[in-house]
Amino acid sequence: MNTLRLSWRLLRGGGARGLVGAGLTLAAVAVSTALLLFAVGMNVAFEARADREAWRNPVAAQGTAAVAVQSARPEYVGERIISLVEIAALRPGVAPPPGLARVPAPGEVWMSPALAALARELPRDELSGRFPAGPVRIIGDAGLVHRDELVAVVGRAADDPAMVPPAPSLDRPLNMIPPTPVAGFAGEHGELASGYRILALIATVLVVVPLLVFGGAAARLTVARRDQRLAALRLVGATPGQVVAMTVAEAVVVAGAGALAGLVVYAAAVPLLAHIPIGGGGWFAGDLWPGVLLVAGVLLAVPLLVGLSAAAGLRQVVVSPLGVARRQTPPGMRAIRLVVTLAVLAAAPVVGGIGYGAFVIMLGLGFLSINLAGPWVVGLIGRITTATARGPARLLAGRRLVDDPRAAWRTVSGVALTGFVAGFLGLLSPSGGLMGVRPAGELRLEVPAREVAAVAKAADARLATAGVPATVVVSGPGKDQVDPREKSPAKASEKGTGKAAARLLTAKLERDDPATVDRARTALAGLSPGHSATSPADDGREGGMLLNDVRTGTIVVLTVSFLVAVASAGITAASSILDRRQTYALLRLAGTPLSVLDRARRAETLIPLTVMGGGSVLAGVVCGLPIMAGAVSVTGAVVLVGCVVLGFAGVIGAGALTRPLLRSVTANPAPRPD
C-alpha cells in the first residue's frame, strides 16, 4: 500500500513535464488498446459471419434422419452475387434455418432486405421474375452475413425436379451445392468463410506484433521519466523489489486508465468500422464487439504487459543505482539477428505447409524475426546517413538512428511489415490481368442431355419474347465447344459426343449491358431446374470479390500500421524532447536555430520510414507488376497512393505537433539538474 501511495505521489509530484510523460503513455496505451480490440474484434466478426452463414452449407444426413433437402447456388444480378438456397421439407414441423420464421412452403420466397429492395427497384423481367410469384417474406439478420447481402430462399416440393440429386455435372463450381438431404439447418462453416478467417488471423498477426512493440515502448516512456528519480531512491536505500514494485504500480495505473480510454475509443469507432466493406458489404455493429470476456481479457492483459515492459526497462536501475547516469556507445547490433531472420524465413514455406496452425505460428515467428532484423537494418541506415551527412540536421538524425535503432524501428515496423503486401495487392485489378477478360454477354446453362433440344428451343423462344437478341448453341461436356458456324438464332444445334448426362447450353447475347444480361438471366430462370444461367464473367465474380476483400483488408492493415507509426512517431518525438530537454535548451541557448533541431527530428523518422516503409511498398508493387498483365486497378492505385501519402503526412504531422513542446522546453535556458 505504501508503495502504491509513494508511486501516486511520484506521479503527481512529477510536475507538468512528468504528467506530460504519463499523458503520452496513457495516449499510447489507449491507441494500442483500441487497435488491439479492433484486431480481436475482426476475428470475432469473421467467426460470427461464418456462424450465420453456416446454414447455407448443408451437412448430408446419415441414414434416414433427413428432414429436408437443401441446395445452394449463386445467382447474379448486375455484378452482384445472390446466394440462392432452395429447400424442400420432407416432414412437417422442421426447425427453420436462422433468420427464417419457418421452413418455406413450396413456392414460397424469402429474401434478404437488400434483395427485396432491389427486386422492387428493378423491372420484374430483370430480377423478381426469376422467383416464384407471390408475397416475399424477409430473412432476419440471424441468417445473413451482412445487411447488404443478397440472399433468396425458395421453398420447393420434395419431388420438384430442382430438388432431385443431380446427374454428374459439368465443371460444377465450388459454390454450387447440389440437393442434399439434411437432418437440420445447422450446417457447417463454408470454405470461403474459413478462408476469410485465416486471412483475418494473418492480418491480426500483422497488426498485433507492431502493436506489442509499440505498447512496450510506451511503457518505457513512463520509466524514462522516472528512472533518475528511482535511481536516486536506490541510492538512498530502496530495495530492488521496492523500486520494481513502484515502477510497475505506476505503469499499471497509467496503462489501466489508457486501456479504459482505448475501450471508449474503440466503442466509439465501431459504427465507423462497421462500414468497411468485406464480402460485399459492411458489418453488424455487434459483430465487431469482441464480447465481455475478450474485452475483459484485453483490459487485464494490456496493463499487465505494460507493467512487465516497464519492469524490464528498469533492469539497469535495479542492477546498479548508477545504471542510468552514464550513457555509452550502444553495443553494435549483431548480424546474428539477420541470420536468424533469414533462417526463419527460409523455413517458413516448409513448416507452413503442414497445416493452418503451423502456418500461423510460422507467420508470427516470421514477423518476430523480422522485428529482430529491423533494428539492425535501421542501424545500418543510420550509419549510412551519418557517413553521408553534410549538414548538422542529417548528422544528428543519423547519429540518433545509430544510437537507438529500436526506437526508429518501433515507428516504422508496422508499415515495413504490411507495405510489401499492400504494394503487391494494391494495384491488382480483379477484372483484368489476374483473372483475364471474361465475357459477360455469354450465358451458359447446364441442362440434362436428354432434354437439351427442347430446352434450347424454349430458351430461344423465351429470349425472343423478352426482347433479348441472342444466339443459342449447345455444347457437350467439358469446356465450351461452340461452333462459330452455328449462327442461326432460330435453331439450336447440337454438338458433342451425345453420351454425357448433361450438356451446356450457351446463349450468346448481342448486347452485354447489365440490364440486357439480367433480362436474359430472368428469361432463362427455371428452364433447367436446379441450375442458373451464368456468364464467364460471373464465374470470376467470387474470385474478384475475394481479391477486392484481400486488398481492402490489406489497406485496413496498412492504415492501422500507419496509425501505429503516427502515434509512435509522436510518442518518440515527445519522449526524445523530454529526455534531452536540457541539451536542447542549451543548444538553443548557444544559438542553434529551432529549425535545425526540427529537421533533425523529422529526418530521424522520415529516413527509415522512407527506406523501409516506402521501400517495402515499392518492392511489393514491383513484384506485383508481372502478374498484372497491364491491367492496373486505378482505384487500387489511388487508394494505395492516398494511404501512403496520408500516412507519411500523419507521421510528419505527429512530429510537427511536438514542436510547441520543443519550443516550451527550450524556452527556459536555465539548466535544470532534475
Binding site: 552514464r326 550513457r327 555509452q328 556507445t329 551527412a389 553534410r390 549538414g391 548538422p392 548528422l395 544528428l396 547519429r399 540518433r400 545509430v402 544510437d403 537507438d404 534531452r580 536540457q582 541539451t583 542549451l586 543548444l587 538553443r588 541557448l589 548557444a590 544559438g591 542553434t592 536555430p593 535545425v596 535556458p669 536555465a670 539548466p671 539538474p673
Partner: protein, 231 residues
C-alpha cells in the same frame, strides 16, 4: 565606449513578476579579459550573464557587443550572434550524448555552414592542446567529468568567439579537476583572444579571472578589476 571594450552592460534591470533580479547593474569587459561574477544563490548573477549573452532581454538598460546594441536585436539576430560571437560553457548537460566528442566540437561550425569535413578537421585540432588526444571518437558517456568539460571548452572556442560565457563550469567537478579545468579554460580563452565572463559562487574559481564582480540582490556590491562599473 572605451578602446578595447568588447562587451558592456549598462544599468540593467530585469524583473520576474514582483521579484527584481537585476536592479540596475553595469559591467564592462575588455578584450582578452576574464571576469568572474560572484554572488550567493538568487543574487542575480545568472540573470546578468543571460542578459549579457543575449539570452534574455533586460527590461531596462542596454547591452553592447563591440559597440553594437544586443538588447534591441530580434530573437533570430540574437540567436545568430550567440552562435557566431559567443561561446558557452555550463556545469553539465551541454554535450549531445549520441555524438562522438569530435562531432560535438564540430557542431557549432557546421551550424554556421562550414562543410562537415572541414569542421571535423578544425575540431580535431583542439583535442591535443586540451589533453584529449585519442578521445575524439568517444561519446560523452565514456568521458570523465573533467574530460567532458574540456570537450565543452573546445566546443565553446571552436568558432573563434569574442566572448565565452561560463556558468558554474566546475560545479560538477572535484576540486583538483575543477582547478585543472579552470586553468585550461582561462588559458585557452586568452590564447584565442577571447574574453571570459564566468559565473561562480566559488572564490577559488573566481581567482583564476582578471576581474571579480560581486552581485547581491541584483546590484553590484563590489568590483575589483576594470570590469566593475557601478552604474
Amino acid at each position: 565606449m572605451s578602446e578595447g571594450v568588447v562587451l558592456e552592460g549598462r544599468a540593467l534591470v530585469k524583473r520576474f513578476g514582483p521579484a527584481t533580479a537585476l536592479a540596475g547593474v553595469g559591467l564592462r569587459v575588455q578584450r582578452g579579459e576574464s571576469v568572474a561574477i560572484m554572488g550567493p544563490s538568487g543574487s542575480g548573477k545568472s540573470t546578468l550573464l543571460h542578459c549579457l549573452a543575449g539570452i534574455m532581454k533586460p527590461d531596462e538598460g542596454e547591452v553592447t557587443l563591440l559597440g553594437q546594441r544586443v538588447d534591441t536585436m530580434r530573437e533570430r539576430e540574437r540567436s545568430a550572434l550567440r552562435r557566431t560571437k559567443f561561446g558557452f560553457l555550463f556545469q553539465f548537460g551541454q554535450l549531445l550524448p549520441e555524438l562522438p566528442a569530435v562531432e560535438n566540437v564540430a557542431l557549432p561550425l557546421m551550424l554556421g555552414g562550414v562543410p562537415r569535413g572541414v569542421a571535423v578537421n578544425q575540431a580535431m585540432a583542439w583535442f591535443g592542446p586540451l589533453g584529449l588526444a585519442g578521445m575524439e571518437s568517444r561519446r560523452p558517456g565514456e568521458l570523465s567529468g573533467g574530460q567532458a568539460q574540456r570537450v565543452a571548452i573546445a566546443r565553446a572556442l571552436v568558432t573563434g568567439p569574442a566572448v565565452v560565457f561560463a556558468d558554474e563550469p566546475t560545479g560538477a567537478l572535484d576540486q583538483a579537476t575543477g582547478q585543472a579545468t579552470m586553468d585550461l579554460l582561462v588559458e585557452a580563452t586568452r590564447g584565442n583572444g577571447a574574453s571570459l565572463v564566468l559565473v561562480t559562487h566559488d572564490r577559488e574559481v573566481a581567482r583564476w579571472c582578471d576581474g571579480l564582480v560581486e552581485v547581491r540582490d541584483g546590484l553590484v556590491v563590489s568590483g575589483t578589476a576594470t570590469a566593475g562599473v557601478p552604474r
